[in-house]
């Protein structure tokens, strides 16, 4: 499985590289999310004092970015490869560059650059500083030192690497249209392209996202998810005291749900500019409450002394 021959080869190479580093290789989170950052393995695990190194592929949904399969590089569903290293190791930039080398990007042949990009997610109540990583003028990754997530200061700070897999694959395969990517690395009749796998889905979901999604149902789902999130958060406090939390993860699932439903409503064009802001605020409030709950759980470091 050579990374420059196939999409899946690229993914497998990255997984192997980060596995060799000692990361927990997770599978995609089983919910619809807008980016790999939403996976609880990043959002929640970035909080609290415990060490955490993980890597995973995350299918990411951006309903608004759908183009009915007609745009060569815009998709409403695409893959991110996400790495989270907490605390951020001192050689994290070198680790990243070596991962590029592993997938065939030779730093003596290509022009690799770290260009300022401050990351902020209003829905997650999160921000960090870092870069877009450019390879010969193309953005291939985002690199962020998380400073705050879900309204909670990161202590210690985690480093997050997000590879845009399709772009990277297009680059190493030398392809201009995402649907032309070789997915399985075979030739002739055995060849499966990215288009074979996803083109129809892009067309169908674009129709759904822009024209047919059931707005009434989505509005209800938003409220339900919001309510459930609050309910679970409330019920999760052990003995009713705000000392230990026992249900941060299920509550956070509802926050993810609300966020995705909001993205669908937004794509459907049924949220006005002023309302838009208030929906983002509502999701952020949920995310913050989940972050607060998480740091009162065991994995969130409750009761443990901060690592040195």
């Amino acid at each position: 499985m050579r990374p420059e021959r196939s999409f899946q080869g690229l993914i497998l190479t990255l997984q192997r590289y980060w596995a060799d580093y000692g990361c927990v290789i997770l599978q995609p989170y089983d919910m619809e999310v807008g980016a790999g950052t939403f996976h609880p393995a990043t959002t929640l695990r970035a909080l609290g004092p415990k060490r955490w190194n993980a890597a995973y592929v995350q299918p990411s949904r951006r309903p608004k970015d759908g183009r009915y399969g007609e745009n060569p590089n815009r998709l409403q569903h695409y893959y991110q490869f996400q790495v989270i290293l907490k605390p951020s190791p001192p050689d994290i930039q070198d680790l990243y560059l070596k991962s590029l080398a592993a997938i065939g990007v030779d730093s003596h042949l290509h022009d690799i650059r770290f260009v300022e990009d401050d990351w902020e997610s209003p829905t997650l109540g999160a921000w960090g500083l870092g870069w877009e990583c450019w390879c010969d003028g193309m953005e291939v990754s985002q690199f962020t030192y998380f400073q705050q997530v879900a309204g909670v200061e990161c202590a210690p700070v985690a480093g997050e690497l997000t590879y845009g897999l399709e772009r990277l694959a297009m680059y190493v395969q030398g392809v201009d249209r995402v649907y032309d990517l070789n997915f399985n690395g075979r030739d002739g009749n055995d060849r499966v392209s990215y288009g074979d796998v996803f083109l129809q889905a892009e067309q169908e979901y674009s129709r759904h996202n822009f024209e047919h999604s059931d707005a009434d149902m989505l509005f209800k789902q938003f409220s339900m998810a919001e309510e459930a999130c609050r309910k679970y958060l409330e019920a999760g406090w052990k003995d009713g005291k705000r000392e230990a939390h026992l249900m941060a993860l299920p509550a956070y699932d509802q926050c993810i749900k609300a966020s995705h439903v909001f993205n669908l409503l937004d794509a459907r064009g049924v949220i006005s500019v002023t309302e838009r802001q208030s929906y983002i605020m509502r999701v952020r409030e949920l995310a913050k409450a989940c972050g607060e709950a998480w740091v009162h759980t065991e994995a969130g470091g409750a009761g443990s002394s901060p690592s040195p």
């Binding site: 605390p87 001192p90 650059r113 010969d136 193309m138 700070v157």
Partner: protein, 724 residues
């Protein structure tokens, strides 16, 4: 004397922050040195994407010794005061203090403190970590293991190593011993990230800079810019083309590389059907590349110039190919946006503006466009513009704000409007106004000259000024969020450079009427607070002079005019002298008067007349105060006893008539020449005539004559407002 070398080596520093950071580092270190009594000979700071560096040369090796006497409590004073004195001065007991005799207030203790100067090396070891910890990055961050604890070091991106050496040229320098967040200062740095990543040991600035160069790092940002510019020009020239120079882009690109390697790429000629500005914005903003033009046609060619950070093993082929692919994709997007925009007529976009708020209190963009249309139509005849064309131009001027291309590249607003207007067959003047009405944007920007553009530009700016003024969103100090200074300066420059005469008070009245006709309660309230009922504005525009003056806009505009004249090297203090006259709302006439006045005051006649007038005014002020009344009646010719009085009276009459006639013809030079005739009479009067005559009637008459001098000079300016 010894020199200091300091380097702070980190992960990639944002390009836009580098220049200021280098400057801050130099300022902070040198200020602190001076505060420590260490006067240095010179300092220079540098920045690359990965390092800030500073060299300070000629620092004394030691601080000089300090001797200080400190006064203490009186002898036999309370114990607490004595203990405090001992503690503060570091004396072991009172035996070490001196006693100062003072027969009046009583004897008191004196501590003689001798503070030997410290070695500079030690002073540096104290000050440098503080500077690192308090460095004013616009945004900074924590990282790594240490970020688990409060108080972790903040830097723009993770800081890796620090070099701090101090010593003279002929000896091995000392390392300034300090550490910040576990980073110990030393002598080690690293070269280019990819081409020379090995550690480098350095002694002082000279070998530091040279070793970095050998390790593929050009330390000096200016040197990197010079390389990029020269190579880019050369690459373009070699193909018979010309680099489109771009200082802002050059600054940024030089902050993205340590070892600039300039390469040229190309794109499909078919993209040249997109307007050149769109191609440039796409290539510049998104890819940080320069564009290239053909000197024969003056238009862009299908080439671009990129600056890589590496000498690639294939000579840059893969880098060029990669950049070409990205630029191709970007230009495809831009072309798609442009073609999509062309499918919708500009006027069909207008209804959407009714749903976009311009400002909470000033209504929607749609309302604003209607007001500008209306005001521009009022202004059009005054500037020689066709009213119908002006209305059409104002109607369409903002429509491109809702196009795809402007959404993507906001800096192309106006320009795209022009292209789209031409494409839909609008008149050339109408189309040009889309772009021109935003001008002038800054002091270096072009001023519109086509009458249609001028009318729309003035309407746009006056509507902005009046609206924000009325809702009390005036600029304060350095804050001017709605760019009202720029708007006022724009009005001034358009009027002056086009020799246009507009009664501004009336124009402001029309602008207010525009808001009132839209039932804008906020503006109405604001205008009424200037003691001017908005109804009267609607009815009688003649009263709008009150709005111009009472609201304070006039002072604001005249202040801008002063700035403008000062920048041109003209005498700005004369602006007040002219504005102090009644009814000045025609800026062109104000400037003409100021010019003529300035020339006049440069002559001997002018200087002496000014002196004479001021002398008259001073005497009047004193005597008016003494008598508690003004001497403003006409003098009685029968009371003149001396020839000089008669001559002066005659000269005043003559000057009044001549200057008045000249002013009426707006011939200010002639008015000044007339003024000059007053001078000998004034001089002779002060020479020979005693104003405060013993005869009260004669005295009063002479004072009235002095008042006449003041009155006569007011034909051209209020001389009392002129600085000597």
């Amino acid at each position: 004397m010894p020199d200091l070398l300091l380097e702070l080596f980190s992960e990639e520093i944002p390009a836009r922050m580098q220049a200021k950071a280098a400057d801050d580092l130099r300022r902070m270190v040198t200020d602190k040195l001076v505060a420590e009594g260490l006067v240095y000979e010179g300092a220079k700071a540098f920045a690359t994407p990965r390092r800030l560096a500073l060299t300070v040369h000629g620092i004394p090796a030691r601080q000089s010794d300090l001797k200080e006497e400190r006064k203490g409590p009186r002898v036999g004073g309370p114990d607490a005061a004595i203990q405090g004195f001992l503690k503060a001065t570091g004396l072991a007991s009172l035996d070490e203090a001196k006693i100062q005799r003072d027969p009046k207030k009583g004897d008191f203790y004196i501590a003689l403190i001798e503070k030997p100067g410290r070695a500079t090396l030690d002073a540096l070891a104290d000050m440098l970590p503080v500077i690192v910890r308090t460095f004013p990055w616009p945004k900074s961050m924590r990282w790594g293991e240490r970020s688990a604890k409060p108080g972790a070091l903040q830097w723009v991106r993770p800081l890796h190593t620090i070099i701090a050496t101090f010593g003279i040229e002929t000896e091995e320098p000392d390392v300034v011993k300090f550490d910040v967040a576990g980073i110990e200062a030393g002598q080690t740095t690293y070269g280019h990230r990819f081409m020379a990543p090995a550690p480098i040991s350095v002694r002082r600035f000279e070998d530091y800079e040279a070793k970095l160069k050998a390790a593929k790092v050009v330390l000096d940002p200016q040197a990197r810019k010079d390389i990029i510019l020269a190579d880019a020009k050369q690459l373009a020239f070699a193909q018979g083309f010309e680099l489109v120079e771009d200082q802002v882009l050059l600054d940024e690109v030089a902050g993205l590389v340590e070892w600039p390697v300039v390469l040229m790429g190309s794109f499909d000629e078919a993209f040249l059907s997109i307007p050149g500005e769109v191609i440039r914005a796409t290539i510049r903003n998104n890819q940080k590349c320069f564009v290239v033009s053909d000197p024969k046609t003056g238009k862009l060619t299908n080439k671009f110039i990129l600056t890589a950070n590496i000498e690639a093993s294939d000579g840059g082929k893969a880098i060029v190919a990669g950049n070409e692919r990205v630029i191709r994709a970007r230009l495809s997007d831009a072309k798609f946006f442009y073609q999509t925009d062309l499918k919708t007529k500009l006027e069909d976009r207008l209804p959407k503006f009714d749903g976009i708020v311009f400002h909470e209190k000033l209504g929607t963009q749609g309302e604003r466009i209607k007001r500008i249309e209306r005001l521009a139509a009022e202004i059009a005849p005054l500037v020689g513009a066709d009213v119908e064309k002006t209305k059409r131009a104002a109607h369409l001027a903002k429509a491109d704000l809702l196009t795809e291309v402007v959404g993507e590249f906001p800096e192309l607003q106006g320009l795209m409007g022009k292209y789209y207007a031409l494409a839909q067959g609008e008149d050339a003047s109408v189309a040009a106004a889309s772009e021109e009405h935003y001008k002038p944007q800054g002091p270096a920007d072009r001023v519109p000259s086509d009458p249609v553009s001028v009318a729309v530009a003035l309407a746009d700016k006056i509507d902005t000024l009046v609206g924000f003024w009325a809702i009390d969103e005036k600029p304060t100090g350095s804050k001017d969020p709605y760019a009202l200074r720029r708007a006022a300066l724009g009005v001034i420059r358009i009027l002056i450079s086009n020799d246009l005469r507009i009664p501004l008070a009336e124009a402001f009245g029309h602008a207010i009427a525009g808001f009132v006709s839209q039932d804008n309660a906020h503006v109405r309230k604001g205008v009424e607070s200037w003691a001017l009922p908005a109804e009267s504005v609607r009815g009688a525009l003649s009263s709008s002079f009150d709005a111009w003056t009472a609201g304070g806009v006039r002072v604001f505009v005249s202040d801008r005019l002063k700035v403008q004249l000062r920048d041109q090297g003209a005498r700005h203090d004369l602006v007040d002298a002219v504005f102090a006259l009644e009814g000045q709302d025609d800026l062109l006439m104000v400037v003409r008067r100021v010019e003529a006045l300035g020339k006049f005051l440069d002559t001997d006649d002018g200087k002496n007349l000014l002196a004479g007038t001021k002398r008259a005014a001073n005497i009047l002020r004193i005597e008016e105060k003494k008598d508690g009344k003004a001497f403003d009646g006409a003098p009685d010719a029968a009371l003149y006893s001396l020839d000089e009085e008669k001559t002066l009276a005659k000269a005043i009459d003559q000057v009044k008539a001549e200057a008045g006639a000249a002013v009426a013809k707006e011939d200010f030079a002639a008015a000044m020449s007339a003024m000059a005739k007053l001078r000998p009479a004034v001089d002779a009067f002060f020479d020979k005539v005693k104003v405060n005559d013993d005869n009260a009637a004669v005295r009063e008459n002479r004072l009235k004559l002095l008042n006449e001098i003041r009155a006569a000079t007011r034909a051209v300016a209020d001389f009392s407002k002129i600085q000597d």
